[in-house]
Point group: C2
């Protein structure tokens, strides 16, 4: 079933054919088709799904689409869909909708689901508390494997995962973790306490989501326990939610590296005006920074008037400086994010980058010297080549160092993104260029 | 235990204190410390670990560090470490080491492990076949839950995962998947056939690793079945391996977006010369592309000589064009990668971007017009403002369209990265600028 059929069937209003077509698709396929339709068509298709399938599709939709769908549905269907969501997914939806709608939705929940949801809503945005599932199965040290399995069979249906099983003491403090695998393989009479791993990784409800998700990824965990300020277990963060967070974080870093504010919605879901808004602020910041280059050039207007050929190399020089700087800064943003490099490595890194920049500058300077010397003149070629070497060293050092400083003042290093370092290096690059021109060409 | 102690203890050669310190650390902590040491110190620390702990730490090290460690170890320890690795991790290491070393290592394997390894090595690089684990537990439709659990208890220790359980027919064709969770909760007399999900996602051994990993992530799977050309199950791809692939892919895309070739090793593990090499090619490509700007400016050298003020705005204009283009291209690279946008959306996307570019250009043109008109003169301001509007429209359209074309000719869209689009837009931006200057200022 390609993407055309569904869109075509909606346009042709052939409800029967549309129903048949949907019946043959899995939930993920239906979701993939839904998000490519406009709001009205999305509503039409969604209403054709049966109650349970609709709830399954609804659960995997992005909150922005969930919100759009809810607008067109009758109140009783809305309540059903919201009740069926996992508490953590529900919280993500409630974060998106206007406060008035959120309150109405909360009011419609059953007391049990309301309690779960309210707890999660109490944790700070982007914290592990918001992302975790409060529905987990915990074991006791003194349980036998048989008792543990019995408990899992009894309560397992509602839990978000039963593959990672936290072990608690009487005060609900986390003392270890075991896995369903260990229980299934072990003897029924063994004690949970003998099967558990006590060297447990866990995070607090206040831990940043990305930090928690990266821990899940690096350690290859199925679920990560989340504890409150008193070290009591309050939830587990599962690997699928961790993957979603890392995916989102990746989108954010890529946006910042490309000089955009991160968008909360998929590309096609955003209006043209919304897209322009995610980009406008950065463009304005960057053009103000670029205004510095106008000022610098103004200082050297007389030199330019005397040797117009100097102007010819301005784009080439500032492009190269920007490229060197963004190479260094993007590699450092990434290395810091995945903990390959730590804040204390600053001096080591800058010294490395200075040598890298020198090698690159030497290579580029040599490559450019001969053609410029032949077409124009050797002295101009010397100015351009020396500028390239100096700019490369300076740009790699600055590009590598800036993410460290950003981190120190608690700015996401990705914000000190390629376009910003490019623009900042431009003005200094021009100073270097005209400095050499003054020395060598005496202008 | 901070990072200093280990490095300090190695320098002080206090073996006893070092051993004590290591004994108190988990495998992940030891790994994190190891990769920050130089090769000699790494060898010293590693040799202090007991056999089993060493094997555990070895397994989670990146192949590049594994290779370095092996060089300094005695042959019998090398054999032990290689035997203990999972087949898929072993293949990743063998890909890294020189062919001679790989052959020697292969020769040292027991026949069983050798067979597993050779099969994996037969699949193309970056394919799901290379990444999958051939050690899985499969069930039959006609088994009872009790029989299935008995099989899992018997064979579960060697399997990479027992949480996702493929169900096969007599010819080993994949007919469904069930989970340990379903089995544990179900009645012992139920049939596996009644508990399995037949709407199964799977990939072939030839499927690209990133495609397979993204499927695992999007569907929230614990493991993804991998089948051969005859649809017979040959392995499973687990979520932790999928996360590692996505993490690596993210590093690659970020590198390309920052104008670097992707590095196979962590930042601090690379030599200065190695770092320079990952960046040199792109810088050369970009400086050749930038040479176009020199040619364009040469055409307009007379205009520049007459109105030197025109030169002042060159960096600002080309920076802005580059920023608009890279905003559009990075957002499209990402949208295509996560399937938010598909190849058939090209026209829709370009038309959206044209309108986004027009809005942004209008904003920037207005912002720049007044100061330039006041400090220089209104006609020059008009030239600059009109250039900004035109460049923004052109750059967003080109930036958004290029990743589509890259994909069509089977180049990774991330290669058409921000620096490349920037450099390409520069030359055309200058043409636009001097075109308006010719019309309005008659130069």
């Amino acid at each position: 079933m390609g993407p055309e059929p569904i869109a075509t069937l909606v346009r042709s209003s052939d409800t029967q054919a549309l129903s048949d077509s949907l019946a043959s698709m899995g939930t993920r396929d239906i979701e993939a088709e839904l998000v490519r339709l406009d709001d009205d068509a999305m509503g039409v298709v969604f209403r054709l799904l049966d109650r349970d399938l609709a709830a399954q599709v609804f659960e995997i939709l992005e909150p922005t689409y969930q919100q759009r769908l809810l607008r067109g549905l009758r109140a009783d269907r809305v309540v059903h869909l919201i009740e069926e969501l996992d508490p953590d997914d529900r919280v993500r939806l409630l974060d998106e909708v206007p406060a008035k709608v959120a309150n109405r939705l909360l009011a419609s929940l059953s007391p049990g689901e309301l309690a779960l949801t309210s707890t999660l809503l109490g944790y700070p945005e982007d914290s592990a508390g918001r992302l975790m599932s409060p529905e987990f199965i915990s074991l006791r040290e003194a349980m036998t494997v048989g008792e543990a399995l019995a408990k899992i069979r009894r309560d397992g249906l509602d839990a978000e995962t039963i593959y990672a099983l936290p072990v608690l003491d009487d005060e609900r403090h986390l003392i270890g973790v075991t896995g369903l695998r260990a229980l299934v393989i072990a003897d029924r009479e063994s004690l949970v306490g003998d099967l558990m791993n006590t060297d447990v990784r866990y995070v607090s409800t206040q831990t940043d989501q990305e930090v928690a998700a990266r821990l899940v990824s690096n350690e290859g965990l199925i679920a990560l326990p989340v504890v409150d300020a008193e070290q009591r277990l309050v939830g587990v963060l599962t690997v699928d939610d961790a993957m979603a967070v890392l995916e989102e974080e990746e989108s954010e870093d890529m946006a910042l590296q490309g000089g955009r504010s991160p968008a909360r919605e998929p590309y096609l879901a955003m209006s043209v005006f919304g897209l322009a808004r995610t980009r406008a602020l950065w463009l304005l910041v960057l053009i103000v920074a670029a205004a510095l280059t106008v000022n610098v050039l103004q200082i050297f207007e007389d030199s330019l008037a005397r040797v117009v050929a100097l102007a010819l190399f301005i784009p080439l020089l500032i492009d190269t400086g920007g490229n060197c700087g963004s190479q260094a800064s993007t590699s450092m943003v990434r290395a810091l994010a995945v903990d390959e490099v730590r804040p204390e490595d600053l001096r080591r890194v800058v010294w490395r980058e200075a040598r890298v920049g020198f090698m690159l500058g030497l290579m580029l300077g040599t490559a450019v010297f001969v053609p410029v010397a032949l077409i124009w003149e050797p002295n101009l070629a010397l100015v351009v080549a020396l500028t390239l070497v100096t700019i490369c060293v300076w740009a790699t050092m600055a590009g590598a160092a800036l993410p460290f400083f950003a981190r120190k003042v608690n700015i996401d290093p990705a914000v000190v993104s390629a376009p910003l370092i490019t623009t900042l290096v431009d003005a200094t690059g021009l100073l270097i260029y005209f400095g050499y021109a003054h020395l060598i060409l005496s202008v």
